[in-house]
Symmetry: C2
Subunit: 653 residues, 2 copies
Amino acid sequence: MSTVNKTAHPFDKGRLEALLSRRFFYAPAFEIYGGVAGLYDYGPSGSSLQANIIAEWRKHFIIEEGMLELDTTVITPASVFETSGHVARFADWMVKDVKTGDVIRADHLVKNVLEGRLAGDKEARGQAAAPVKEDEKDKKKKKKMAKGAAVQLADDVVKSYEVTLAQLDNFSGPELGELCRKFDIRNPDTDNEVTEPQEFNLMFASSIGPTGQHPGYLRPETAQGHFLNFSRLLDYNNGRIPFASAQIGRSFRNEISPRAGLLRVREFTMAEIEHFVDPEDKSHPRFKEIREVVLVLLDRHVQASGNTTTIKMSIGEAVEKGIIANETLAYFMARIYLFLLKIGINPDRLRFRQHMANEMAHYATDCWDAEVHNSTGWTECIGCADRAAYDLTVHSAKTGHPLVVREALKQPIITEKEMPEFNKKVLGKTFKQDAGLIQKHVESLDEKALLKLKDELAKGSTSITIDGKTFEISPELLRVERRTFKQSVREYTPNVIEPSFGLGRILYMLLEHTYWSREQDVERGVLSLPPVVAPTKVLIVPLSAKEEFDPLVREVSSKLRRSGVFSRVDDSNTSIGKRYARNDELGTPYGVTIDFASVQNRTMTLRERDTMDQRIGSIDEVIATVTDLVEGNIDWAEACRRLPAYDGVQAID
Amino acid sequence: MSTVNKTAHPFDKGRLEALLSRRFFYAPAFEIYGGVAGLYDYGPSGSSLQANIIAEWRKHFIIEEGMLELDTTVITPASVFETSGHVARFADWMVKDVKTGDVIRADHLVKNVLEGRLAGDKEARGQAAAPVKEDEKDKKKKKKMAKGAAVQLADDVVKSYEVTLAQLDNFSGPELGELCRKFDIRNPDTDNEVTEPQEFNLMFASSIGPTGQHPGYLRPETAQGHFLNFSRLLDYNNGRIPFASAQIGRSFRNEISPRAGLLRVREFTMAEIEHFVDPEDKSHPRFKEIREVVLVLLDRHVQASGNTTTIKMSIGEAVEKGIIANETLAYFMARIYLFLLKIGINPDRLRFRQHMANEMAHYATDCWDAEVHNSTGWTECIGCADRAAYDLTVHSAKTGHPLVVREALKQPIITEKEMPEFNKKVLGKTFKQDAGLIQKHVESLDEKALLKLKDELAKGSTSITIDGKTFEISPELLRVERRTFKQSVREYTPNVIEPSFGLGRILYMLLEHTYWSREQDVERGVLSLPPVVAPTKVLIVPLSAKEEFDPLVREVSSKLRRSGVFSRVDDSNTSIGKRYARNDELGTPYGVTIDFASVQNRTMTLRERDTMDQRIGSIDEVIATVTDLVEGNIDWAEACRRLPAYDGVQAID
């Protein structure tokens, strides 16, 4: 088994992007029409990679935890988002270039300009420039930023920039406007000043039906579909709680000026879980299974102090110390971590960052983002929020439909209370139209006042004054009695813990984390995708398209299919080396070659993508080995123990 | 093995709908907000059924045929749909009630009213009422229609109604307006007259970005995403043709007044294939595999003659006779048929209907719909259209981006042509500013005119008259020579065959076709979903929730999981009979019971849904048998041969 040096060449985003375009992982949508910012199409490789990530997600979350899957609509009547608060508050702050009218997202502008100046400062001080946001597609902008910023800054200015950047997500719109004035932040494309920040709602609006009288929006998250179906879901779950619903689907956000490839898009596939839990008991029955998992945490206090120092801590300890609020939130953070590792994210480039108070979405009470490090810095890929009872409460209040759990109490709660009891007939006769007034007044009295009244009535008649009018009340009209109440059902609005995954971002992170170039040739890119997500698991390569190989190609294809291993045949008219190089770019982990020896001796070689090692065995041995490899039962070292090395000469391009 | 009478009770749509709601297959979206017509949410059972249909679709089409999967955006800039013709022509005709302003789709109005009158006529003649559109949810309307129509009609009126209905899809808007006047068709809800039909575009409109200056639409089909990526797809396929792309995704149509449940919705999941093929060779390499498949066909000539008589014919014969235009179109029709049978559609309720000329979408040159019979009549579920070169041609013309195939010719095409050759220097000197004019004129001459010129020049000078001006041309200025041309590349715009599936409609048809009630109790509904699409394959039923069953439940669950069989445990607090009855409604084909005998003897009973037969065997035997059943390796008769009958007494609720 050979060793491989995957870090011989520094990461080169331009080469990766060229590969992704060449192999049609994804491409700008409507490219031949000039494209539309923030919209991308996935080609065969990207679709397949995404489908495999989704399949693994379904297994890891939905199947493993018995979640209830949903598929709800994108189009949503305006009233729903008015109630949920999205119409009023689901907005970003934008500024306009005062001369050109170009629109820029305010926080992004501050971030880009300050990071550019800090990078220029480092350059001026003779330090290596920090890996600031690199956008190869937007070279003009980059050049401008770099040029304008090659200036050394005073030490206290550097410090104030750094503190500002650490707290950036915590600023309101007006505060971002102040920062622009304080630091003289201008549109880097034109050097013009910018306007005061204005809010822009991120939902796409449309109209439902032919009359134009029913406004609607495209959902910016799938969550509302879960909440509105809560009663049906609870019923489906036989009235039991906790349970979780899950949904994988498209959502839409009309981003202000998206420029960062798959990291900021206007249309994206999400996977969302809404875990409904008793607000008084957020423990999790399977917490013990993950309590030893160690995460990298960046909590809100550290950030609020202008710092970004992380700590490494086990989930168990973080909950004990109150850093993570409860077991259920922590359980999902650990499960998210395990999922990301399984699909191939580098654990050293993964952290959980807690939202600061002002940063939190309007519905959340606590939130931790799973952030993944990439060429642009740290990017949120998954939000894990405690939405408390916010959504169910507002929808219930608006519609009058109770969105609650009714739980039979094992031990009924017995309470005693003083209760007024009127002789209504006599009361009516005595006070006529005032009778109702008196009754209402007495019923509104608290325990203490009722006891006082009871005491007075025990001594004979007493008087009550309402709105300046006094009424004489006799024991014949009113008695106050101690009564016993038995409550056998508890009714409550559940809380919601919401892990919410942006699949496009995760997919892109995975591509960055698994991309490298061969030591001997920087042009030969490889995507070391794990078999579980690789679009194709095994490439079948006949020596040539000659008919004599057809029966064996069919046999191997069909045996792999029966073993549940997805393979593709490449009988194109190029060298075997070129075909393997193409499949290294597609992330295909294994390849089998069918040649004249296969026809004569029924042997086949097996190639591993990263090492380019080749082993040889009988067709059935190789199929059994590659099946075990793909299913994760064995690793390549074990495969090398099973199959001898192949020392035949094979042209490698 | 018991026999089952599935037709003991007539189909009852009300009962089916109650079941689907109770078991949360789907429900009106935004139900607690009063709902929005044409929008539905899928619950856990419906999502799972849909996911299984999609998985089978992917296997049957994408994997089997090596199609290239895509995932393109919903949001589309207006320019794309302007080019594709959707902005101008993707519309339905609507009429308004002249008094209330209620909006009704014109063709639906004509259909409902005429069908109502025909039903009333049959009633009046003492014949059984035909099974007209039954919409249980809309009883008011139905009653009105029936009431207004309990009148006997003249024989020639009946005939004219029938002819009109057979051709209904062929009428234009103005023609529908004429029909309303001719037959005095009014709004059945109010008995008011209706306006002349107006066109209503069915696309949802929105706006992209913060400036409001970029209009866009939600796609009404996924097809444009395939066409716009054609060059990348062709490149991915190494420049070879034919190939197909495939996409499963959401589309949106702002239907005028949807009322028919899942049959007419405003948001739906489609699965679309675009098969790109050489326009001069629409044969299909795998045609021989399906040529014996027999389909029920209703061609356009039969319909145009006011008839709906179908014929049964093999695919091979239909192509030979020219009823189906070409092999590729026919191949997909057969594959569609096989797919529908595989997931459980009743072949006796399936036909292929050819579109009539006026009915065809603006982009299609031929189209066959797979129509499935259901309680509302025949409903289109899949369209199989020949879009010819329409889409690629218009997008290419609009963008200037060639969407063509360049094919190296095995045999270069050698042609000879007469070509004018000027002595440009002398020509310029002689005629100054007229030189260009002369050159252009000569170059535009056809072969015959060039030969004449050549002939004249061979004899000496000749003259050319352009716009009344005559020029003397000598052989020194111009020669006409015969030249040989070699064309080694053929360039052409491929044609597109498009099978387009509405998954929601197919799902609903499947529910109607598989639903029945137990002979002994009409309240006990069963969905006889085939294992391949059933949401759960095996229900594990412990006798009670007692802890002593837990180890076996875990063992059976995990063994089934390892065999790739999806199971669920139901340990809820009701009788085993009730739990099985619930799962009959969910379509779960098999159940295994774990009881005290299981703990003592490691035996387990196996129950089959339709027959309610119970067999018994060792735990491992039962697991092996049920795995074979679910994978389709054996049928229930074979399972009965393997496992003895269980004659223990079991309470059935």
